[in-house]
């Protein structure tokens, strides 16, 4: 717990005025899920991803996704070694505990799907050999939704490989002033201390996964799922996998709150991030945030 407090404090010092987004990002990692940070450039997506990797004490790699990136650039490839006269596998950046996929929507679908497969299976198959990825394995991807031209937006079916999607948005005025007057963020990044390591993070994940989910809470989540399917306001309703994601995220959030049980409030706190990228509003011109808020409002809490 204390180490998580330390991690959160450091991150809040780095990303000013966004405690909720930061907490959600940490929750996502705690729940063992991959995180998608989606926002316009310059609000600190990459900084947050960097910061997260650092304070979590994870071995991390960063890949800047571009259109000419090939799957092998991420997964790794066999290289002929003159000395031995044979091929040696050179692991790509995906064999890190934390992979930072910057601007994931710039890469071609082939690269995207290679990465997404690794995220889903926690293993990669290269040249007929299946290799397991390290534990824990996280992907933090960033993308810029406003940029449409020359990009390959992640297909909806693959978006739900990410447990949560977090947006940062512009900082509040006070925070922005502090930002302007304060240190360079990049310099600040270098001062961050790892608050955890892989082992302690795994312990915390195991604990969070044990939190009590009562029947009443399960009923509440079911009601949310049903409402999304029935309301007719979404192209498609939430899948059972989404339900599992909701529970996992709520557990992690409750663990961060220091509770041994999950409350509907935990579900409601994480819900917009968990289901925001899994739903598409049917009515044009309405943002998904509005729709999710509306959905939450209509489901009565037991």
């Amino acid at each position: 717990m204390q180490s998580f407090d330390l991690a959160l404090r450091q991150l809040n010092g780095l990303i000013l005025g966004k405690p909720v987004a930061v907490r959600l990002a940490v929750t996502c990692l705690l729940a063992g899920g991959h995180l998608l940070i989606e926002d316009t450039p310059g609000v600190g997506k990459t900084t947050l991803a960097h910061g997260l990797a650092t304070v979590m004490g994870l071995d991390y790699r960063r890949v800047q996704f571009t259109a000419d990136l090939l799957p092998a650039d991420i997964l790794g490839s066999s290289i002929f070694e003159r000395e031995t006269g044979g091929f040696r596998f050179q692991p790509g950046p995906v064999f890190a505990q934390l992979l930072l996929a910057d601007e994931i929507n710039r890469a071609s679908p082939k690269v995207q799907s290679a990465l997404l497969e690794a995220m889903e299976e926690h293993q990669v198959t290269i040249e007929g050999v299946t290799r397991t990825l390290p534990e824990p394995f996280f992907v933090i991807a960033t993308q810029n939704p406003a940029e449409q031209l020359g990009t390959f937006p992640l297909p909806e079916s693959q978006l739900d490989r990410f447990l949560m999607r977090v947006s940062l948005g512009y900082p509040p005025r006070e925070a922005e002033r502090a930002l302007l007057m304060g240190e360079n963020r990049r310099a600040l990044l270098a001062t961050l201390l790892p608050a955890l390591d892989g082992a302690s993070l795994r312990r915390a994940q195991a604990e969070a996964a044990q939190l009590t989910v009562s029947t009443a809470l399960a009923d509440y989540v079911l009601a949310v799922l049903e409402a999304s399917r029935r309301s007719g306001r979404f192209v498609q309703g939430l899948s059972p996998r989404a339900g599992l994601a909701i529970i996992a995220a709520a557990r992690a959030w409750a663990w961060l709150e220091g509770r041994d049980h999950v409350l509907p409030e935990d579900v409601k706190a994480t819900l917009p991030s968990v289901i925001g990228h899994r739903l598409v509003p049917l009515e044009p011109g309405v943002t998904i945030e509005e729709e999710v808020a509306r959905l939450v409002m209509h489901v009565a809490v037991p």
Partner: protein
């Protein structure tokens, strides 16, 4: 809901059968039989989902039983006729009932039919059956509205239970009418108590105690004792073996009133067949338009008899009616038809044993005391030797039987005698300061002429058998139980006697407070409730308001109650309701912690209380900690006590 309301309509038919069942005792047996047959046919059609018979066929089929009814009863109006016709029509209505609307009309008809048995019987059993009918009808109503059977029962029980207090309040407080709006045509075999032109004791097997006022009297000064309230209307001086009637042959009389207490009164009356009731014994000089008639009775001179007249009258209470009978009249008052040998033998025996007229008369009266005679309004009918049949057979009857048989015995024993019919008793109305005599007070007694004293003596054999009838009025004497327990060898066991006493007491109360609850009783009740002697419209309204409020109490209690499916959920709902009432805007999507957050503005103590309540709720609902029933009860009690207030600004 379409025309085929499905089998949901079967309860309607079932309820109708229940409602009509008691009428089987009072109507020609085939009427209820036909009704039951029609209803069962309809039920079978519903069950098998078969179509209804054509309407023209029904109309034709209806003509047969209605015609038969006409032949049996000779009428289609009146109590039997009207009710029988209604029952038949209801049966045929059931056979042409198609849509939901029709079924509802039929059900409403069922509610109306439920009142019909009450015209014949108002015993506690009838009341029980009324409740049974109401339950069945209400349930049918709930089923017809589409409720499943179990929910229907629950709703029926709730609705009837909640409406019971309202009904009781209305029953006791709604103003009652003192007289009828119109009169019911008399029907066969029964008589309304009241005065007829003749008196045939054996032929009437049932008497309906109609309780309509006949006349009102206001005394100038103190009235005579109530037991002397004998209002004479007619004198029957001839008996033909079946009935007593006015021979109309006596023209001249030499009457003389001796002694007694003089009094004056004013009477308001609507003459029946031009006769006017007068208190024993009236003065001979009758004021206009009254006219003295033979037998010291008054009649009205006016031919338009049906208008109410008021006239002052005077008379003497406790006076002696002296008259010197000449031989012709003596013979007239001793005349008897042949027959009734046992009565004649009894009279002869008593005559031989008696030293003088008074002892003889006492001996005759003792006959009624020494034998188990019973006063009842539902005696068995008599035929043939009706006097013997009554005196030595049934020994059950009302005043006509007693008066007729005593007059017969007296004549057989050689004492001139005649039957006087009129009214006995009356009820004082303290609000109006007048006495009222009702048709149920109708009475018959005997006057015997004692040769030794040359005077007519009033003898009331009914008083010998049922002193209550004279002391308290007909009403209190009515609830006489039929001897249902055979008495073998001596007195019935003590517990049986006790039980019978209790039953009679309850029966009396039933009679007094339910069957006999009328305008007078109502006034009495109001007085007892302290609503004042002046029963005016505001008083009634006030009573109505108070009573309605009392009747609403269970309603309010029910209103507060919520169905408790999950006590925890309903308790939490109550907490949220209380908070909303305290002005805290809560949304259904607020979880327990949201609620706590929004309630931060509560007064300190309330907030701590809310925190405790919420923590328990969370522990049980979300933390998976098991809660014992006792813990939940304690928590629910705390919830009920929880009345949060906002912190003062």
């Amino acid at each position: 809901m379409n025309a085929d309301a499905g089998r949901r309509v079967l309860p309607v038919l079932f309820a109708l059968l229940l409602v009509v069942t008691p009428l089987a005792w009072y109507l020609p047996f085939w009427v209820t039989g036909v009704f039951a047959g029609l209803v069962l046919i309809r039920a079978a059609l519903v069950w098998q989902r078969r179509p209804l018979p054509p309407r023209w066929l029904l109309v034709l089929a209806l003509l047969v039983p209605v015609g038969f009814l006409w032949l049996t009863l000779k009428t289609l109006v009146g109590r039997e006729g009207g009710v029988a016709l209604l029952v038949l029509l209801a049966g045929f209505k059931a056979l042409e009932t198609g849509g939901l609307r029709d079924w509802r009309v039929l059900l409403a008809l069922g509610f109306f039919l439920a009142a019909m048995p009450l015209l014949f019987d108002q015993s506690p059993a009838a009341a029980v059956w009324l409740v049974v009918s109401l339950v069945a009808l209400t349930w049918a109503m709930a089923r017809l509205a589409g409720n499943p059977p179990r929910a229907g029962w629950r709703q029926t029980a709730t609705a009837l239970g909640l409406s019971l207090p309202l009904m009781l309040v209305l029953f006791f407080i709604m103003p009652r009418l003192s007289g009828p709006l119109w009169s019911m045509p008399p029907s066969r075999q029964t008589a309304v108590t009241g005065l007829a032109d003749d008196m045939a004791p054996g032929s009437i097997s049932r008497i309906i105690p109609a309780n309509t006022p006949v006349f009102n009297v206001v005394f100038d000064g103190a009235p005579p004792a109530r037991r002397d309230f004998y209002w004479r209307v007619r004198v029957f001086d001839r008996f033909d073996g079946v009935r007593w009637y006015e021979a109309g042959t006596i023209r001249e009389e030499t009457l003389q009133l001796l002694g007694g207490q003089p009094y004056r009164y004013r009477i308001t009356v609507k003459p029946e067949r031009r006769r006017l009731p007068v208190l024993d014994y009236p003065a001979e000089n009758a004021p206009d338009p009254a006219q003295l008639q033979p037998g010291l009775t008054w009649s009205s001179r006016r031919s338009t008899a049906e208008e109410t007249i008021r006239l002052p009258a005077e008379g003497r209470s406790g006076a002696r009616l002296a008259e010197a009978l000449d031989p012709a009249r003596l013979a007239h008052y001793l005349q008897l038809p042949p027959g009734n040998p046992q009565a004649r033998a009894l009279a002869a025996r008593l005559r031989q044993r008696s030293a003088d007229d008074r002892i003889l008369l006492r001996g005759l009266l003792d006959t009624y005391r020494s034998q188990p005679f019973r006063y009842t309004l539902t005696p068995p009918a008599l035929q043939g030797q009706i006097v013997d049949g009554f005196l030595f057979g049934s020994r059950q009857g009302f005043c006509e039987h007693f008066a007729g048989s005593l007059a017969f015995l007296a004549r057989a024993a050689g004492l001139p005698a005649r039957v006087v019919v009129g009214y006995q008793g009356g009820r004082f109305n303290p609000d109006g300061g007048f006495w009222q005599v009702r048709s149920a007070d109708a009475h018959a007694w005997v006057e015997v002429w004692l040769p030794s004293e040359e005077a007519w003596l009033r003898v009331d054999p009914t008083a010998t058998v049922s002193p209550d009838r004279i002391a308290a009025g007909a009403e209190s004497a009515l609830p006489v139980l039929q001897p249902t327990v055979p008495v073998i060898g001596g007195a019935p066991p003590a517990w049986l006697g006790r039980w019978r006493q209790m039953a009679e007491a309850w029966s009396f109360r039933w009679q007094q407070w339910v069957v006999g609850y009328d305008a007078d009783r109502q006034r009495q009740l109001f007085r007892r409730l302290g609503l004042g002697d002046e029963v005016s419209a505001p008083v009634v309204l006030r009573g109505l308001a108070v009573g309605m409020l009392l009747g609403m109490v269970p309603l309010l209690w029910w209103w507060r109650r919520r169905p408790v499916a999950d006590p925890l959920a309903s308790g939490w709902m109550a907490v949220r309701r209380r908070l909303r009432r305290a002005g805290i805007a809560l949304a259904p999507s607020d979880g327990p912690q949201d609620v706590l957050g929004k309630a931060a503005g509560l007064a300190e103590a309330d907030r701590i209380e809310l925190e405790a309540l919420t923590q328990h709720y969370i522990d049980w609902r979300y933390r998976g900690q098991p809660a014992s029933a006792a813990e939940i009860r304690t928590w629910l009690r705390a919830v009920r006590r929880f009345r949060p207030r906002q912190r003062a600004a």
